[in-house]
Symmetry: C2
Subunit: 379 residues, 2 copies
């Protein structure tokens, strides 16, 4: 039994009335100028009308959705400008991981008056919660767990990935409403769900894992194993959607407490070469690295495998492969990767930003080992 901390856990609610609950939350706190940062997809599907129908003239509302794909520093800076110009006193994020990461950075840093860039890679201390705006996050994918974590990823101007990291960035409240994820197509449901599963497995088995994180991680694994195939094959199964939102939230809590590992090192590196869905990249990297990871044969790995439903550690890679088949993850990189080989990935895998995830793995992967993984991914 090692020592560990489980602090600054934030709260969440499972609800079927996410927008009403969010507005109620802000109304209770006397807010009146609500900045909504949302995925463009939702906005073009009538989000403004949905919110207005529940507003009852309580809030001035500004809906912002001027971004695309994984967040760039410049997109977050633009969102911050808009929120400041609107003089927002509350922030509601509705989206996948990218939208929520942006909304979390806006609610955290808005009152500082400073450029977002000043807070990347912990260059400056983030403001305390009571110096921020009240915030609620509603995830529309069940995968990143951004609504639970203090991790916020963005792409810097030089193309590198950067992080705004800190427990201060966690929202006041996460609302898990399956109506928002029910329209997700099967492939995105599978990819994002795999991201949650990998978060949970890595947090439950890396060198920083502890019993406190495993409470969340094991439950996230159990929920994913049961609910992800249902969510993929019966998209309207709101119970399965809810279970996946819970799995994603719990997995987010787990990585907040003790980080990810080698599969995320590879998936973040892959994303530097060409655009790829983060969940897909992570799933492919997890399947390829799993036998190497499990060779450490720790008790923590056995417990994580048991939560997956596998009693013998050596049976875990096959069980994962069968599971990925069941949820329909095609083992194929997007076409844009056709021009890249393992040699292109290696410099990224050796870059500073990737090392913390590489080092989190109980088995340290040598450069030769990384090259083997890169070849398995890119040929």
């Amino acid at each position: 039994m090692s020592e560990f901390k489980v602090t600054d856990t934030s709260g969440f609610e499972v609800t079927r009335n996410g927008i009403s609950r969010a507005l109620e939350y802000f109304a209770e706190r006397g807010c009146c100028r609500l900045f909504v940062l949302s995925d463009p997809f939702l906005v073009s599907n009538g989000l403004a009308a949905q919110i207005e129908a529940r507003n009852h003239n309580r809030f001035q509302i500004s809906i912002y959705s001027d971004f695309f794909g994984e967040p760039k520093l410049t997109s977050v800076q633009a969102a911050m400008l808009a929120a400041r110009a609107f003089n927002a006193d509350a922030v509601l994020g509705i989206g996948g991981g990218s939208g929520l990461d942006m909304a979390k950075i806006v609610k955290t840093c808005i009152n500082t008056g400073r450029d977002v860039a000043d807070f990347v890679m912990q260059a400056n201390q983030l403001p305390a919660l009571n110096a921020q705006l009240p915030s609620v996050m509603i995830p529309t994918t069940a995968g990143t767990g951004s609504e639970a974590s203090g991790t916020n990823i963005l792409t810097l101007e030089n193309g590198n990935k950067g992080w705004v990291w800190g427990p201060e960035t966690r929202p006041d409240l996460a609302l898990l409403d399956p109506h928002f994820s029910a329209s997700l197509p099967a492939n995105l449901t599978a990819w994002t769900g795999m991201d949650a599963l990998v978060h949970a497995f890595e947090a439950a088995s890396n060198r920083y894992t502890h019993q406190g994180a495993q409470l969340y991680a094991h439950q996230a694994i159990r929920l994913s194993v049961d609910a992800l195939p249902k969510a993929v094959h019966s998209p309207d199964d709101l119970d399965a959607r809810t279970d996946m939102l819970l799995a994603s939230y719990y997995a987010g809590c787990a990585i907040h407490l003790c980080s990810t590992s080698i599969a995320h090192a590879l998936s973040h590196a892959l994303a530097r070469l060409a655009p790829i869905n983060h969940g897909l990249a992570t799933a492919l990297a997890f399947e390829i690295t799993l036998p190497f990871v499990l060779a450490a044969e720790t008790k923590d790995m056995q417990k994580a495998a048991a939560a997956f439903g596998v009693s013998e550690l050596r049976a875990m890679p096959d069980a994962l492969t069968q599971f990925m088949d069941r949820v329909g993850v095609e083992r194929r990189l997007p076409e844009a990767f056709g021009k890249f080989s393992a040699d292109d990935l290696m410099p990224v895998l050796r870059s500073d930003e990737i090392q913390p995830m590489r080092e989190a793995c109980v088995n340290y992967a040598s450069d030769e080992q990384l090259f083997d993984f890169a070849k398995a991914l890119l040929g």
Copy 2:
């Protein structure tokens, strides 16, 4: 899947240096006048010297331990007077459920200038966290989970039990340090551990249970089943002590989220007749009421039984009986109960304060049913 909330969760740390960590916590917050509320037993065993050795002249410290047994309103009032006279700016509670409940009420209400009685049974709104004193709780028994919950029990001047209830009363931080529970004798280890197990089982199976509370409750059940026999029979097994502190903390989170049930209705009623250890009363009441409770045969009960290691619901009462034998719970009330019969318990069981726990049970116990339970307990 019903809707539910998991908010205002507080943080905890598993540590082997509880006092140092507590002092560090207060030092980081600029506190200088530390009010320590502790069980008399610890004070007579050198707690003051232990704290002073780690103080390094950072704090003025006042150690208060002028109470005995379950907290009375008058004891809390006296502790509050002392803390106010000392002009405390931080509160450290070290003790069993009684001491921690008192310390939590002191840290919550001290700045209001009002009598503690004004906050009993939600008569007045409790102050928000930022109007309270920074607080840390170190449990010395693994049972009540007071360090995790917003429930604080005291005996009123008329002999009735009263509650100061509210999430505002949760401490900033709970420190789980097995050194503090390792000296607990076997019978108290078993009784308090049974309290944690019953908290978890009731929270996992009553009519207010939900998946969020079950995350904590099921883990508390699993940990108790494994660790309680070890803690009883190998008192120096610090890993088992830690697991029981975790079980108690998680069970406290679970009842904070969705309450106890019928076994606690009976155990609180019993305590009105004569002094009895709360864990012992609860264990006896749980064993007697369990077949009635399980007759509702809900899925939640099946999941709770599975966490206990029992695959068929009907096997649960025998499994519990065997478990209580293994941890050495004698089925015997203290001698002072000799003069009471079931007829004496009935008016208490019908009193207002008991009804919320009675009503929490999925099967509602009629007066006749309660009388049968009372006879089984008192003859």
